[in-house]
Each structure stands twice: as C-alpha cells, then as structure tokens.
C-alpha cells in the first residue's frame, strides 16, 4: 500500500493559514483528488489552523505543527498546538458553541471540519495544547 508523510512547523501568524492550506493541498494532490475534494480539505485545515492561532495561542506567538500522512487512498491530517487547551471538548464541538463571541466567530469550526472530512478526533489538555486529527478517503473517479 502506498505510504507517504510530512510534517511542517510554522509560527502562529494569521498569514500562515493560507500557507498551511496550500502545503496540505499540495501534499494531498498525490491522491489525485478532484478540485472539490481538495477544497474540502483546505477548508477543514483553515478552520483547525485558525483555531490553533486564535484560541490555542490567543494570537500570542507559538508554533503550529501539521502532520500529514497518506495510506492507500486515505489522507490523515493532524493540526497540533501547544497552547491553552480546551476544558470541555464535547461542549466545544457543539455547533454554534464559541468561547469568544466577541470575535464574531461563528462557532462552526469543528462542525465544518466534521462535515468536510470523514472523521474528526480532538485531543486536548488544559495548559498543554490541542491535537485535531482528521481523515478523508479519496475516491478515484
């Protein structure tokens, strides 16, 4: 079975969100996706990276790590921060829940990740950080 992987690290600056999205999309392009499939992955990555930057590090400086792997036709993307962590992951994953309504976020980030990817896992520890693990299988057309 075909396997490949990569890991990338960058500082938690908002302009690196677009960069992260392209890197994951370029890596995923090995799976010969459609533009729509690729756009789904990019949307999910954007949400996870934005969360790491604005919630995990609260816009202070920190490092965001993304690990990607391909096994057969399945892509796994992990977005990791070493920021403040999430107290109640179940609550955070509820549609429309946001801890920072003042930022005019929609509270739909996790819901978007769930919708655009096949699976979503969230591991978090207060003061240690958060790891979001998403997978998506690509159907060859």
């Amino acid at each position: 079975m075909y396997h490949n992987e990569m890991k990338i690290e960058f500082p938690s600056k908002s302009q690196n969100e677009a960069f992260a999205r392209v890197v994951v999309a370029a890596f995923a392009s090995q799976l010969d996706p459609t533009i729509e499939e690729l756009s789904d992955v990019k949307t999910a990555v954007s949400e996870a990276v934005t969360n790491a930057i604005i919630h995990g590090y609260e816009n202070s400086s920190g490092t965001v790590t993304i690990k990607c792997s391909i096994d057969g036709n399945k892509l796994t993307v992990e977005v990791i921060d070493f920021g403040k962590g999430i107290e109640d992951v179940e609550l955070a994953r509820q549609p429309l829940y946001t801890s920072r309504p003042e930022l005019e976020r929609s509270g739909m980030g996790f819901t978007v990740m769930e919708t655009f990817m096949d699976t979503l896992e969230v591991e978090s520890q207060i003061g240690k950080g958060t790891r979001v693990i998403m997978t998506k299988s690509f159907k060859s057309v």
């Binding site: 010969d32 459609t34 060859s140």
Partner: protein, 77 residues
C-alpha cells in the same frame, strides 16, 4: 497594450501573483470543459494533463483565487 505587455514580459517583471490568477482561470475553464466531456467530476491529474501544468502549480494557482490577501503581498500591505 500588446506592446506594453510584451515590454513588461521581456523585463521579467511579471508578478507571480498575477500569473497565478491567470493560471487559475485556465484551470477553471479546463475543468468545466472536461466535466462536460466526461460527464463526471475530473481529477487534478486530468486537468494537469489537459493544460500541461503540474498538479502542484494547479494547487498553488487555486490558492491565489481564495485568499490573495494572505498568500501574496503580505509584506507590501
């Protein structure tokens, strides 16, 4: 106009950001054409063959439509 364009090209000062957007437009057009032809969704690889542009460059060009304000010109703003 044509002459000005040629002059700019010869000088090698065409910005990637502008070129990427043109590529992205070509990608969209090629995609529509192939979808009609095959009657199904088409993959990046198929578009890549049609346009003779690498999949990686297609990925980069598509980003230029999404969020030019992030990927380009960050330091010139």
């Amino acid at each position: 106009m044509g002459e000005i364009k040629r002059f700019i090209r010869d000088d090698g000062i065409i910005k990637v950001s502008r070129n990427m957007k043109e590529t992205a437009k070509k990608v969209k057009i090629a995609k529509e054409k192939l979808v009609k032809e095959y009657g199904r969704e088409v993959t990046i690889e198929e578009i890549s063959k049609e346009l003779s542009i690498t999949s990686e460059d297609i990925v980069l060009s598509l980003e230029s439509l999404n969020a030019p304000e992030y990927l380009y010109d960050t330091i010139h703003q």
